[in-house]
């Protein structure tokens, strides 16, 4: 059975810095067991739909062996090995992914303001440079209008700040939280799904 696994730079475990045996050419890396994730439970992997939750420096296609358990945010296997690096996933694409999360947030926010008959704010949210959004909102006193009951713009500012700090995984999290906490928005737009679809499309990954 095959799946994916995000790892830190150099093929290291994100938390425990475990040194994963890397694939060489067409030869997969060696099989690893529960020591890889420092838990007797097994080794963790990600399905396509789980990828947005685990974004990190490097992405690998992996093979699983032994008992396999499907969980809400991933899968658990007895043993695993890295088959090949997904070369399309690099620093540049990772930054694009982060910006795409913010783009969807802005579009949702703009749609909301359009629907409310606030086209100026909607246009501002869409048109200005995303990195300048917090200043633009403050300068035009837009924050005063939008702050009221509109958490979404606050989340957008959170996302921009976190993007600037370079934490892509955090941007994705902010986007998921921002769009799921509002029932109206969540009904119209599934951010987890959108993130997964973006990754699949840009990395040209097969459907599951």
């Amino acid at each position: 059975m095959f799946a994916y696994r995000f790892l830190a730079r150099g093929g290291l475990g994100a938390v425990n810095q475990f040194m994963w045996p890397l694939p060489e050419g067409s030869t997969p890396g060696a099989w690893v067991g529960p020591q890889a994730d420092t838990t007797a439970l097994g080794v963790f992997a990600q399905r396509l739909s789980d990828l947005p939750y685990w974004v990190h420096d490097e992405l690998y296609r992996v093979e699983l062996r032994g008992s396999v358990q499907t969980l809400s945010l991933g899968i658990l296997a007895g043993e695993m090995r890295l088959v090949e690096r997904v070369s399309g996933w690099n620093e540049s694409l990772r930054l694009d992914f982060g910006e795409s999360c913010i783009e969807r947030l802005r579009q949702c926010a703009a749609n909301t303001h359009d629907a409310r008959g606030e086209p100026l704010i909607a246009r501002c949210l869409i048109e200005c440079d995303v990195r300048e959004l917090p200043q633009v909102l403050a300068a035009n006193d837009m924050s005063r209008h939008t702050m009221g009951g509109n958490l979404l713009v606050q989340y957008i500012i959170d996302a921009v700040n976190v993007l600037r700090a370079g934490f892509t995984a955090s941007v994705a999290h902010v986007a998921r939280v921002a769009l799921s906490e509002s029932p109206q928005l969540a009904a119209k737009h599934n951010e987890q799904l959108a993130q997964g679809q973006w990754l699949q499309r840009r990395l040209d990954l097969p459907s599951e």
Binding site: L151, Q154, Y155, D158
Partner: protein, 214 residues
Amino acid sequence: MDALDTQKQAENFLAALRAGDERAFMSLVEQYHPTMVRVARGFVGTEAIAEEVVQDAWMGVISGIESFEGRSSLKWWILCILTNCAKTRGQKERRSVPFSSMGVDGDDPAVAPERFLDDSQPRWAGGWAVPPQVWGEDRLMSREMLELVERAIQRLPDGQREVILLRDVEGLDSNQVGALLGLTEANQRVLLHRARSRVRAALESYMATGERGS
């Protein structure tokens, strides 16, 4: 080192002790005495009483070495003798409630609640209000840090102190500590959790500013 070599070394050492080899005995004392005092200190009220308890424990070791079968390690056997002496003395000295139940009940959050955004916050309730700072490498290596850790451990409530001493300072595993202290796995983990949380908190201000706490 080869496992068989270690085994042989241990057997030779035990034989020497039984034969009355004073150097072997004194090396045993040098190796374990400070640990024993530290552990005993968790059970009794003062350093002086802890030293007495340890002396009693050594008497038990000396008289028991002949019949020690070597099925467990010497360290484990010595610690068993010690904790028995310490518990007995501790009960005599002051405790009506077994210490092991102390510090388990009650609310004792790992981090002060005000460090987090409360539920009234519209965004990120439960998230850090005052996040932890990165600890500098130089501070992590410093002697001051070790001294702070030692003092913070000494200031812990009894149950927490004993568990962190045996687990993190002495390196015993959870089964061993549970057996020595008569604690369930769950209780031991609660005590360990609180102990580590408190010691970390005590370190926090030093690591951020370089100033020692009180």
